[in-house]
């Protein structure tokens, strides 16, 4: 199950990167940087594994993929504390014990930057 999920993720950020590089009329791409939230069930190891196959024949071929993990950040809806939900606190707010929180970061996969080669 995991591998199929990661492949779809790789294709999505590759398409975004190809769009960006094409818009900029780049000659090639040196590196792309992708942020992966802790809450996404995405394993970076699989992203690295599929990257060469997903980029073959595109402007991204031969470029380096860098994956950075983004920790989960939540804001308590009761007291406003910003915290990192963890099992130790049963994912509750460590300040007031509230269970209602908005996730501020760590839920998405983002294409952060594309290092393009221009001649």
């Amino acid at each position: 199950m995991t591998s199929m999920h990661e492949m779809s993720t790789v294709l999505r950020f590759c398409n975004l990167a190809i769009e960006t590089a094409t818009e900029q009329k780049a000659r090639g791409v040196e590196e792309i940087v992708v942020e992966v939230g802790e809450m996404t069930d995405i394993l970076p190891a699989y992203l690295y594994k599929y990257y060469p196959a997903a980029t073959k024949g595109t402007i991204l071929e031969g470029s380096t993929l860098t994956v950075e993990k983004v920790p989960v950040k939540a804001e308590c809806a009761d007291c406003g504390t910003v915290f990192h939900p963890d099992r130790e606190h049963d994912y509750k707010c460590p300040a007031c014990g509230g269970v209602r929180a908005h996730v501020l970061a760590g839920r998405s996969v983002n294409l952060r930057e594309v290092r393009v080669i221009k001649s």
């Binding site: 998405s108 996969v109 983002n110 930057e113 221009k118």
Partner: protein, 227 residues
């Protein structure tokens, strides 16, 4: 001239496209007055059998259709058709979830404008479908007794995205160490206050309450559509 490397800040989430597609779809369905429900659960929790029972009741007042999404096969759509429920089978071709675009194709195939309520029976999986907005107006999650009452702890996102949770196979509870109190506590820790319906698709217990809830949600949705 020497090659220059330029760093382009993109900062785009990879699901931006999907989220945008889903928002468009939601609006489109609103114009049609069609209420779209995304049903998610692990494989074997009883999505098909629960939908058969609920749809049987809803069909007395509403035009109901079912979209079956599976990696392969059409057994679920055949089952629906055998019970006189209009349905289409969607194949995700190996993918572990349905995205907004596949969802749109399915709605076109079934002819969403001809229905009051459409259920999407998503791929059996408690992980991936939670991450992809299908454009549905309601996310219904089914958890069955044999899976255990700790599942909301193991698959938090699924229960956060849920607007209502069905606890199926409640007739089997005596055979398992399953506590309704515990599961309710775990579900509400993920999404406070959402309704929980203990049912048995086999005996029919609790099905009427679930159908009534969906009917009421449809009525309030329809009221907001100006149909």
């Amino acid at each position: 001239m020497r090659d220059q490397v330029r760093i382009l800040e993109v900062k785009k989430t990879i699901l931006e496209d999907n989220d945008a597609d889903a928002a468009v779809l939601k609006e489109h369905l609103k114009e049609e007055g069609t209420f779209y429900i995304n049903v998610m659960s692990s494989p074997g929790a009883g999505k098909t059998s629960t939908l058969l029972k609920v749809t049987g009741i809803l069909q007395e007042d509403l035009k109901v259709g079912v979209m079956e999404a599976d990696i392969d096969s059409d057994v679920d759509a055949v089952t629906m058709e055998e019970h006189g429920i209009p349905s289409v089978q969607l194949h995700t071709c190996g993918m572990c979830h349905l995205d907004a675009d596949m969802s749109r194709q399915g709605l076109r195939l079934i002819g969403s404008q001809n229905f009051d309520v459409i259920f999407l029976e998503n791929v059996g999986n408690l992980v991936c479908p939670a991450e992809f907005d299908t454009g549905a107006h309601m996310n219904l999650v089914i958890l069955s007794v044999p899976e255990g009452d700790d599942k909301p702890l193991k698959y938090p996102l699924m229960f956060e995205k849920a607007d209502a949770v069905v606890i199926n196979k409640i007739d089997a509870a005596p055979a398992f160490d399953f506590s309704l109190d515990r599961v309710q506590k775990h579900i509400h820790a993920r999404h406070a206050g959402i309704p929980i319906f203990p049912v048995s698709a086999r005996t029919g217990e609790g099905i009427e309450a679930l159908a009534e809830f969906i009917f009421r949600e449809y009525i309030s949705y329809e009221g907001g559509c100006g149909k």
